[in-house]
Amino acid sequence: MSASADELARWDSVIPGIVRVPLRRRALGLLPGALVVLLTLWVFIHLGLDPLVIWAGLGRLGWLLGFMLPPAHGGLLGVFIWAMAETLAMALLATVFAAVLAIPFGLLCTRSTGTLAPVTFAARRLSDVVRGVDPLVWALIFVNVVGLGPFAGILALTLHNTGDLAKLYSEAIENIEKRQLDGIRASAGSPFAVMRLGALPQILPVLTSQALYYFESNTRSATIIGAVGAGGIGLLLTERIRLYRWDEVAFLILMILAAVFVIDAVSQRLRIVLIEGRKAPLVA
């Protein structure tokens, strides 16, 4: 049941433009889109995204992917495993150090604990700067200062995470529900009891969950900061790529994927046990 041409024309004369959009208006509507397309084309040309170059590169990529199969450890399995252990150690230590250091730092960033306003301001800006700089940059800086190796990586990740966690902690502290504290005070709880039974149960799940999340994230970061010399599997990966040992590169990438997968699964499990398992049982 379609409308006749007459009827459509009638409606167009009643409300101009409802059926047939005038060409000029249609062109105007397309204008922003066309501008974006042109701009994007310019960006692609400016960055050297030349189809011919990409085509040639894809050829080389295919050639090099061919050498990746089958992945092999080239007799260096022990070295690879040690490097992976270094990576995981960096991630774990950095998470623990940052989780601890962020507590006093986070308190300094919090207004509701009675910290002086100028102190809060300074602490917050410091945390902004520290976490605004990528872990990879901190790693490069620490490699320059304390030398090559995982120690530089630990310092870099710790510093970056401390900034991040301090912000999250201070938000968690500021979001405490005051009524729970009042309740314990009203039942004659000591200041210690107010902290232990009123504040901590509200903050701890957030802290635990964030620490676990940072452990996952640090495992990912720790695999790559080796590229600037900060130890771990990234160092090996960069070296193997420079040497064109593609089968070993593929093996290392698979190891990274497996490690990230396992750490995510473990952390997921711990999150359930530590947070869900803490809740008191419901008894009718």
Partner: protein, 286 residues
Amino acid sequence: MSDAAARLEVALRTHRAQLRQGNLLIGGAFLLAFAAALPVGGFSLARLIEGWPEILSYLGAILPEIRHDHVVEDVGKWYWGFWRYLRLMVDTVLMAYAGTLIGLVGALLLVFPASNLLGRSRVLRFACRRMLEFSRSVPELVFALIFVVAFGVGPLAGVLAIALHSAGALGKLFAEASDNLDTRPLDGITATGAGWFGVIRIGVLPQVLPNWASYTLFRFEINIRSAAVLGFVGAGGIGQELYTSIRSFAYTDVSAVLLVIVAAVTMVDLASQALRRRFLDEDVIG
């Protein structure tokens, strides 16, 4: 004591015992891992104490000396390379833009066949999912290291690395958003005899677009941060400049470049957050 109270008492006691057991187990495993990590990671307090003065003096050295009576000259000397940094930072943002855009296209191509609800072929669904998983699990920097070999030094390698990683990351978020959609409109459109593309165009896209747009902008913010460091491995952008100034101990240049990066990232974040809020607000109203 009433029956209910006694049951509560017993339940609480077993719960506490279980908790204690779990605490001991997890705590023990954690301490063991921590103790093992210290030597493996080459960490010791002695080394930290030994390195501490150097760390402080380095951080002191990268800050510029600005005398209060020569502010203009000193800032000028600190930022002698300002226009160069600005050009490189703009290039970095453009790399993130191009990478996000290409990644978005990749994600859109893979997400429909990968979706539980919309994927027609099981083999295709499996293949698309594994591809998305792979490309988001491998860090950009690893892709960049390999692409620099294949495509040569320069922003092209960086853009492609960002694109590949973003396709995976966006694909996952898109798939989650599209798995939660309301299926009734889809049934309605299918009932009118529409094909697969019709269902997606009229039924799916209007539901998921605000979320997807917001995710894409968020990815763009993340990608600017990544693009700023991909230069470390030769993949273009301001990272190359930062790498050179850190490695050649050009102290004050380090802080100058870092400040440019932090300022640019902050500005783009603020703009993008404002836009994202608008998308999601429209979602609520529409």
